[in-house]
Symmetry: C2
């Protein structure tokens, strides 16, 4: 275990044979897919978020507590505090990546304001436990007090790993100590309705070397699933994952973000305590969740109601919730399983989710966001009227902020640290798991293995890795061949090889200038849903490398109604930029509504169909050209008889 | 208009060429489909509902107000009062149908208790406006005060039409006068978040002859749709139908029960004021709603979230809400349009909805209920653990009561008056619109036209109508040939004819003993969904006459997983009791979850399929044999190439 180290590590510092990269070990080029997002995040998103929180009074909440003037009239939901902490976490990663006086000043000022609101015993929160507010821990199901402190602690973890001890870390340490005192064995035997404190305390234990934080995380995990939390109408124990003990569950269920944060923290505890039973349970849950409750985008959460997973095979494109935050939480869960097991399937899901959920959330300018990421939108610009706070940006219109605004700061902290997902390190191997132009200089047992990655991925399929500095011994360079890749080829100093999905390992005594090149075929391809997915029957998706594509109404020819569009799967797909062109078909005319039910006694006769070119664009860019109807799962045209 | 009459009429006393039957004009035989339900309702359901309301304190709420001891700690939701009024409405219909000392005593005792809680100025309610409670009309969006009073007034309408003036009517009259004073032109310019007062006042105007009640209903209707109601997070103006004025809307939207109650009241106002513009708008809204937002069961409401309609073509079998109350409200709306226009399509939808939504709600013993009526349930017995209050009876387990318990009393008041939907009367015609064994003796311009109906409908397809008394002139007897009927035949004294859907009219000077017989073919048939219904693509339903059938897991052979069941549409369907047997197919084996997404790069190859007999039972009886998985829309087996 990484006890007593103050060395910066990002973002999960797991023990065991594999470790993630440290903060200085990887950097994206500023022009690549992830580098560009990181630059926009630094230039705009942090301050965008801070200005909204100031405007809505979420920061003032802390000042009022500090002045002893708190009231129930405070601004925002009980969990508004967490947005400030997530912003601080993102700033910590960003400042560790590159000094920035403007963002440093923002960080310092926010730390001062939240620190001033801390109670003498370490309690941190603006919605409970101060004069004029409800008592501390009086609403464990929905009060979010430990959730908020969890995000505070995660911000401190980021700071410890990128800088070291500071005022924020001290605030978090006092809060973590308070939580351990109040909720340890023999104290309050309850838990927080929204998991988050578990993963935070587990990471804090690693970052500080204090095992008791991890022990408190373990206590929260074991306590859960026994019906402890009071439930009210419409919120079941399943919603809180308080229905079944985590090591007995067989699939993720209930509120998606909660289930995934909980799972991430549970992997940390399982790994740090050598609990293979728990780790095995989490792996099984991941398997079934991915096989039966995950969209082709990697999105999770099938229900708007309860923001929940839904049941096996319940994957409706239109009502897909696929909250941006659930995508981030899924990456957190999968990354931990990747480090724990080394299995490439976890990296495959991370790639899919980052490119098609997390990257989809924010607008190109980093100042507007989707909350939910459905795979089918029937009404353009629905339920959103211009500037201001709104519930869920829908209909292709990203919103600048939300009443429940968890996604913007979550995207921001994730973008600020995506380079950490680029690779991981074994004793004698550097493994590239997420591709983008940049540089990796990893410590391999005291020697540096430094490579440059040149690629326009995911727009182009060639990934060139050039060794710049190598250990003076035989080591391995491993590149991931994604699960979707057919006909991949690799070229190394040892020659050219055909590659199957999984890890491509090149082992040798590398010398500067050695090149290892992966060639992935990014031709657009169909993705056929399992026949048990009821809401996707008779449809197909089009993908291009890691990108899921979609149809936008913007691209339809005149006279073709969006709901009539069919795809001719027998016709070839053509590449078109980073999208594709498919063969579209639509009935030549649609009937009027005659006041009869939409059911007929005879199977519908083959309609006369009009053919057209159907452009498909990357899903992560949908809505960029204005409000639109959109769909990922495209209805299949009936195949001509006999073909 | 029926001004100043005290003659009993049921249940909608519309002016114009067509009128519904009066309370004494029709009766079901006690053994028929509807008669049996009416008997069970009388024997069990009223007292079942009353005992739950007593047990939960919903009746005590009135006593506490009467004693001046009301507090915010009162029992139940703000709309709990309405359940008492709906129970009273049902009792009024039942007592009008047949004297019953036990139910009369229950009625009298409830009337005394609610009457004691009335404020001196006519205000009636237990959640606002008394000492210790929030002020009157302080939460128009969600307080349900006018909704509650609307149900009180509807109960009084039932009493006026079945009995005459009494204590309940006097309470309702004071409440209605209060509402007119408080919400008339120049008074509070607002409205109730849950429509109901509109239809209640419109009917009360007819039953009392007081036009000002109808004028107040008109005011509420015109006021709506202009964004008057405050909205909070997650509840939009659309939810309340406060987004668009009713005569400008083109489809029903938002909360389904609200939209349908509102529409029913709007037809009443349109008809009574000769407002053809409004009537035309409502007819257009009905047309599009039926064509694009209605399930094959007649169920309406596609979303659990907001209990709402959803969008055009959004008809997911699994997440179908199809609240029992929405079915009842849909019948109210359609019945009014049937009387206003005489078009058979409205009667078709009433038949479908009564048989497949309203009849589905309650258990055979009348003491347990479904709240939502989805068309696909993947998990048997889900979210319900035995006796007690629960949210939504799911997984094939009807619940004795609910926290929000609108459906039991709504079913009860509807069952008590279903005979009113059996027929309507023009100047010179008796038109049978809903079939069941019974007797109809209608006044046709001062002369009685009395017929017996003998039928085992919907189990059998023959409807025999025997004239027992006839006017001494030529009149018409009209029978509905349902829209689903193929090969219908009619036999009358004039001979035998083939019949197309619509009205079959037999005009003559009838004599006692004349028989008019309708023969409907009840062979099971497929119902193919419109290709634009995304969540039903690749499926088909099986119907038998007016009944929609379903598959229950109870009937599957060993080794066939419910989610694997396919229907071979090329094989013939066989009748089987009041259900059917189809040709089932299922893959011989299913793969394990391997931790990969449920998508494949190649179109799924034809699997080896196992054939079996697939029994189908009427949807209204699903769950009667215990918790089960269930589906109405059955996935189609792939057709063999070249067939």
């Amino acid at each position: 275990m990484s006890t007593e180290t103050k060395h910066p590590r990002v973002p999960v510092d797991a023990p065991g044979p594999r470790r993630g990269l440290q903060i200085g070990e990887a950097a994206w080029d500023p022009e690549g897919f992830w580098g560009r997002r990181q630059e926009t995040n630094a230039a705009h998103t942090f301050e965008h978020c801070a200005s909204w929180m100031e405007r809505l009074g979420w920061l003032e909440n802390f000042d009022r507590v500090a002045r002893g003037e708190s009231t129930v009239e405070r601004a925002g939901w009980e969990f508004a505090d967490s947005e400030v902490y997530k912003l601080l976490e993102g700033l910590a990663w960003e400042l560790g990546r590159r000094a920035n006086p403007r963002l440093q000043a923002l960080y310092d000022s926010l730390v001062a304001r939240i620190g001033a609101a801390q109670a003498p015993d370490g309690y941190q929160g603006t919605a409970f436990g101060h004069p004029g507010l409800p008592p501390r821990y009086s609403n464990m199901s929905e009060g979010h007090e430990l959730y908020n402190m969890g995000h505070l602690i995660q911000a401190a973890v980021a700071r410890l790993r990128t800088y070291g001890d500071d005022a924020l870390v001290q605030v978090a340490r006092r809060a973590a100590d308070h939580v351990c005192r109040e909720f340890g064995e023999g104290a309050r035997a309850t838990l927080c309705g929204h998991p988050e404190i578990e993963v935070a305390l587990a990471e804090f234990a690693r970052a500080t070397g204090e095992e008791r934080y991890r022990e408190q995380a373990r206590i929260f995990l074991e306590r859960r699933g026994r019906g402890t939390l009071p439930v009210r109408v419409l919120l079941s124990a399943e919603y809180f994952q308080d229905d079944t003990p985590i090591r007995e569950a067989d699939v993720l269920r209930g509120h998606a973000v909660r289930a995934l944060y909980l799972s991430a923290g549970a992997v940390d505890v399982a790994v740090d305590t050598g609990d293979d039973d728990l780790l095995g349970a989490l792996r099984r849950q991941w398997d079934r969740t991915v096989a039966r409750r995950t969209f082709v985008t990697g999105g999770m959460g099938s229900r708007h109601q309860d923001e929940g997973f839904g049941e096996d095979w319940e994957l409706p494109p239109d009502r897909a919730y696929c909250e941006t935050c659930a995508g981030i939480a899924s990456v957190m869960f999968s990354w931990r399983l990747l480090l724990a097991t080394g299995e490439a399937k976890y990296a495959d899901l991370i790639e899919r989710t980052l490119h098609n959920v997390v990257a989809t959330g924010p607008s190109e300018d980093g100042r507007a966001f989707f909350y939910a990421n459905p795979l089918h939108v029937r009404v353009a610009g629905h339920e959103y009227a211009g500037e201001g706070v709104n519930m869920r940006a829908e209909g292709g219109v990203r919103a600048p902020w939300f009443d429940v605004s968890c996604c913007p700061t979550n995207v921001s902290r994730t973008f600020a640290s995506t380079q950490a997902y680029a690779a991981f390190v074994d004793a004698d191997a550097l493994t590239l798991s997420l591709y983008g132009a940049g540089r990796i200089a990893a410590d391999l047992g005291g020697e540096t293995f430094e490579v440059r990655v040149d690629t326009a991925y995911p727009v182009e399929g060639r990934v060139e890795v050039t060794v710049e500095r190598a250990p003076a011994r035989e080591v391995a360079l491993r590149l991931r061949v994604p699960g979707w890749a057919a006909d991949a080829r690799g070229t190394s100093p040892a020659g050219e090889v055909a590659l199957a999905p999984g890890w491509w390992e090149v082992t040798r005594a590398f010398a500067p200038g050695d090149r290892v090149v992966l060639d992935l075929d990014l031709s657009p391809r169909l993705a056929w849903p399992d026949s048990r997915i009821d809401a996707q029957r008779g449809t197909v998706a089009v993908t291009r490398g890691p990108l899921v594509l979609c149809v936008e109404s913007t691209d339809l020819p005149d006279g073709v109604a969006f709901e009539d569009v069919l795809l001719d799967a027998a016709a070839p797909l053509r590449a078109h930029g980073d999208g594709a062109i498919a063969a579209g078909l639509a009935p030549a005319s649609a009937p009027d509504d005659a006041g009869v039910l939409p059911f007929t006694a005879e199977a519908p006769a083959a309609a006369e169909l009009r053919a057209f070119e159907l452009p498909l664009v990357p899903y992560h860019r949908w809505g960029a050209r204005g409000p639109a109807q959109m769909r990922v799962m495209i209805p299949l045209a009936p195949t001509a008889p006999g073909t």
